[in-house]
Symmetry: C2
Subunit: 218 residues, 2 copies
Amino acid sequence: MGSKAAVLWTGGKDCCLALHEAHSLGYFVTALVTFVPEVNPGFLAHPLPLMALQAEALDLPHLQIVIGVPYKESYIKAITDLGSQHGIETLVTGDIDLINGAPNWIRECAEGTGVGVLTPLWQLPRGVILDKMLTSGLDVRMTCVKMPLLGVEWLGRKLDRAAVDELIELERGGVVDACGENGEFHTMVVDAPLFLKRIVVEGFSVGRLSMVSIRPAN
Amino acid sequence: MGSKAAVLWTGGKDCCLALHEAHSLGYFVTALVTFVPEVNPGFLAHPLPLMALQAEALDLPHLQIVIGVPYKESYIKAITDLGSQHGIETLVTGDIDLINGAPNWIRECAEGTGVGVLTPLWQLPRGVILDKMLTSGLDVRMTCVKMPLLGVEWLGRKLDRAAVDELIELERGGVVDACGENGEFHTMVVDAPLFLKRIVVEGFSVGRLSMVSIRPAN
């Protein structure tokens, strides 16, 4: 039996792919973990009720840990507690890349906690990650888009081969990061090989947040 | 004569207040500096043409330095060049707070470059910063808002006492950071004591970027 692991969970493609990668590598995943900000006045791209359905489909407990100020201490305590209270030896994340060149936040916070960090997607080319997503059999839906980079017609779309090719084409044109690393889009996984059942969503509500600006006319 | 300084410039209230604070502290500000991302597929809250007008009003050169991948090396080189090519001894920023607990990026990149960093607003309470903005005589306009946190009626509004009080009230209610630290809004300075002339903008264009999401109905 491999190392006892938890996956940092947002409901999207990256964490679910990381879960499958960790599973393939022999890790024994025993929980999904979501760090929930104490104050979040902004836009919640990742609905907790959906994550609860995913955890149920995976037959895994969903641990929600509240993160507050000061952040670093809060993250360190949360990761330490995962080790001491839940026996987690490895924390798996779907993190892909540096943010503004800053080091990986979870890896940094986990240092010295006794909990290891596995980032199976780290700095892989975007095309490789998206191919892995397709060949792993994840059913991923586009659930949040930043317009006008991506139009509203993307909402609800399955990330199949054609959609992935379009994203890679848009990345070539400098429009988006093909994995949405700059917040261009967010996704939700509705089915995957490790899901015991497919998630069926009966109805949707639509959220919208607009940035509006004025600037000197040219 | 104080240390020869450059101010990291975005056109908004924080950098302009930092300029005035540095000036009061005896620094000799000789340039405005804007780090321009090589690729920016997103939304530009800070129009470069407006910054050019501000630099002209301040009678200062506006240095635009392109930042690329890898970011950290790119920032370190940019800051080093400010020292060696422009004689800058101190880089002044309007940075206010940690981002997710991460250390100050500019300070980190400036380490070892020989260029010092002055952050006169660092970790001051938001109300103190906004009071300084008012008493310093800055004419600050709201130019970008994140709806629905702030409505479109804020666009173009002057940040006077009444507006500041409203922002602080919204912060108390957990709606926004009163200084817009989470991207809730952006501002432009159209006049300030160090401006040789007021900036008059003849016409505006309006930009809009929407985040749209679907989520399971409750």
